[in-house]
Symmetry: C2
Subunit: 522 residues, 2 copies
């Protein structure tokens, strides 16, 4: 592991070679993105810290009590249990109870900040510190667009979504299961998905996590692109795994964690808690539970390979307690996220937060209201890896084509927000105010002209024209404009270059793996 | 002025008799709101402070430099200029230049917190401190609903909007010009508007600010309801005025300010700055300019009557510099609001922030995205009087019926967010976590049942059902549900009681004033 790739807990953050200022433009670029586009956003605003020190210590203490008294289970992975036993856990069957502070101390070797390398070096992203990476939504069986309605996702959808994500500058990462390609057998689709990310995009990607062997296949495909030596040194792929909350890590999941960590690749460990169902109905309890589970997940990566890159994740939402329905974009998980951010910084591990959540079935006002509130929580809490930041509909059941570009436009606003304000003479503009004087107008001043290109974030999708101009343009609503946008983008898509020999090797690998596996549909 | 109504700058905030916890329910109540409903929200979360002390001092210093070097004009109100001259300003024609610190020191007598009494005492609201009051949108010539489209507002619209606002528990204030009733002559419509607020609602209201005589009429009508003695003691009506930014207070506006202040009634003074037009294109400069203008507005209230209730306002937005079009719900004004909040607290005057801004012509995704980002800035910055918090469309040109109830639902989420988290044993739920254990479910536990009624904010408008349930219910989008909602609410509206003698007196006053004025349509 090289110091430039992974930063130790004790190291100084120092200058940030990959730092990029927040992009001021939200416009979607046509065709290949300009090489100067920043690979991620650098946070220049403070985090919004909800709890005081005493309250944070109480939450951390509750998490330690949970691990000490209740314990946590790893069901069906004796090797993982053995690693924890060796570190001092009291293991009884699947259940292990951890002495206070053990999980926390095991997390100490995880890098505070690390780099995930993309196939295109200009797309390489950092995790942790002041780096903020916007990542598309993940895992939906359905897709939706205004013309086709809601339907099961296919590989064609998957590929189109990867192409769009590649073209959207405010998405810094290609993501993983941008939809489930249900037309491909369950045990083979990971090959098509990883191939699609590698071939149709050049951004960093997530690999399969459904079984350890599929995780291994994902890593193996990256070896064909990056080479063995490079992968021993650099993180080029990550897996995003969920706990079976409350307090269970499934053995298949723990093996997936260990597979990525053993290969020095990244793991995002995320508890999955709908308050009142997999966790308490009270947000502080849900956060304490989540913290316990996430620490154990990060600890496992470090037990497998100290120093392996890991991301501390969370997935908190609320429940409509009368119906049991999960709810998203609501205020309690937003408050919970603020606490999770504080806990992650105190632990010193990069933070995954979830982004544009909604329960809505359509790319409508509800969808954007809920997504904005949820995304803002992730921004304020100091999230580094903003998962599900674009495309989410219907509680992750659906990836929306329009929603993807609508959220991506909102992410442009968020990137500018993350850039904060600079207080200096030029920004304070006293000379311009002197020049204009009472009752004057700033539009034609030299100061305004000098800032014309960068003064304000410009949406690529929101309508800011007059009513008459808008009406003359067809009087289209937000979703309709988004529909036209993604269709135009796909029509202009150009695949990033790939060495034909690498492409051949990837296809050959897929063919061989597919031939070796009988089709499985469940 | 009584200590319970107005709190001096030097006073201890002490216990808050009007404090109400954040309401947990966002459902719209049918018919008359329950008397136990809180009259406003009490903030229990920290403010989000963007700038450090050094940067804040630089912004404040820039504002002082503006007032000292450039000065500010009051055009056509020699009495106001005389008040400032008497306090030490250097007056030359309309222009006055203020010694550094003068405006700030004049603001010192403004109450840090005060009460605006409503006709129904249960609806009385506080301004300042940890009180947060959600106020509907103001000033649009047009109204919009899904059935009728966009059209000029009428008195019938005005009355219907007042009725809806009365029925919506997340709106704590009746507002003022909820739309322009353009079917009534310009010089008479203030009478109908004030009457509609007083008769069809019992929440606190804003009076006319278009001329000093209309402001006086507004105050006179309140005297018929509250009595002279009461009004000498209590604030029962406020006027919301805008500066003619940059650096001009119109004489008619300054007379309106003085009319309200002289009657011991509240004034909300708000600069109106679209960056790049009425202010610099750089946000720190726009904020410094706004601060200078707002301090002078507050200072005028105190010169007219020391101790008069005043609210420090702001209206910041950005401009699409290529077209000159104003833009709303964008990131730069959100950042600017955070600074404005810090400045207002340092000045010690209650803060008006603007809420649910959008450029959208429709109650669509753009509208709710922009409104959520804008409203969240007002929440985070510590706003007390959240103006324009519901109904805004098209840069304030249009009041939307659907938008009103969509925003009102979002305000329920914001109220819960403002309630924050409590870290105690019950909320940390360790006993429930012990009881459920690994792999269990929390839905049936005693802890969950005990929190069932209060655990999570419940939307009254967002759809959280399954896709199939939603489809069976007609597959309606957010705006369509909002359309049905406001129609159902109007059908169930019941007017609050009013003493017939008071009603008679109000009508008589209106008739006499209207008879004395020739119709004016401009």
């Amino acid at each position: 592991m090289e110091p430039d790739a992974m930063e130790s807990k004790t190291g100084d953050d120092g200058p940030d070679p990959g730092a990029a200022t927040a992009p001021r433009r939200g416009r979607f670029r046509r065709g290949r993105p300009a090489p100067a586009a920043p690979a991620y956003v650098t946070r220049r605003i403070p985090t919004y810290d909800l709890l005081d020190e005493e309250s944070l210590v109480r939450v951390e203490d509750a998490a330690e009590t949970i691990l000490q008294e209740v314990g946590i289970e790893i069901r069906g992975d004796d090797e993982a249990l053995g690693l924890f036993r060796g570190a001092g856990a009291d293991v009884d069957g699947h259940r292990m109870r951890l002495p206070r502070g053990l999980a926390r101390s095991l997390c100490a070797t995880a890098p505070r900040r690390f780099t995930q390398h993309a196939r295109n070096p200009a797309r390489t992203v950092d995790m942790g510190g002041d780096a903020v990476v916007f990542v598309p939504a993940y895992g939906s069986p359905f897709v939706h667009d205004l013309a086709g309605g809601r339907r099961y996702g296919t590989l064609a959808d998957f590929e189109n979504l990867v192409r769009l994500i590649y073209m959207i500058p405010t998405l810094h990462h290609s993501g993983g299961t941008v939809c489930e390609p249900v037309d491909i057998p369950v045990n083979k689709r990971h090959l098509d998905m990883v191939y699609a990310h590698l071939r149709h995009s050049d951004k960093a990607l997530l690999g399969s996590v459904t079984t350890a062997s599929r995780a291994a296949d994902s890593i193996a495909m990256c070896r064909l692109v990056f080479g063995d030596e490079r992968m021993e040194r650099d993180c080029v792929i990550m897996g995003n795994v969920n706990a079976n909350s409350p307090l269970v890590w499934d053995g298949e999941v723990s093996r997936v964690i260990r597979t990525y960590a053993a290969a020095n690749q990244g793991v995002v460990v995320a508890p999955f808690i709908l308050g009142g169902a997999m966790g308490p109905a009270t947000t502080p309890g849900a956060v304490a539970l989540s913290h316990a589970e996430a620490m154990v997940g990060v600890a496992l990566t470090q037990l497998q390979r100290p120093g392996a890159p890991a991301v501390y994740g969370n997935f908190l939402s609320s429940t409509a307690l009368r119906s049991g329905a999960p709810t998203f974009g609501t205020p309690e998980p937003a408050l919970g996220s603020l606490v999770v951010g504080q806990l992650a910084r105190r632990l010193g591990v990069p933070l995954r937060c979830s982004g544009a959540f909604t329960s809505s079935k359509l790319p409508d006002g509800q969808a954007m209201q809920e997504s904005a509130l949820s995304l803002m929580a992730a921004i304020l809490c100091g999230g580094n890896f903003l998962f599900h930041a674009a495309g989410w509909l219907e509680g992750a059941l659906t990836m929306g084509y329009e929603k993807l570009v609508m959220d991506a436009d909102m992410l442009g606003a968020m990137a500018t927000y993350l850039g904060g304000l600079t207080i200096d003479d030029d920004q304070l503009a006293l000379d311009a105010i002197r020049e204009v004087g009472p009752g004057g107008h700033f539009l034609g001043t030299g100061h305004t002209l000098a800032h014309c290109g960068t003064a304000f974030w410009e949406t690529g999708l929101a309508d800011v024209a007059s009513f008459e101009q808008w009406q003359d343009g067809g009087g289209k609503d937000h979703a309709r404009r988004a529909h036209e946008r993604w269709q135009a983008m796909l029509a202009e898509y150009q695949a990033p270059a790939m060495d034909p020999a690498v492409d051949e090797a990837l296809r050959d690998f897929m063919d061989r793996r597919k031939a070796a596996l009988p089709d499985a549909w469940h």
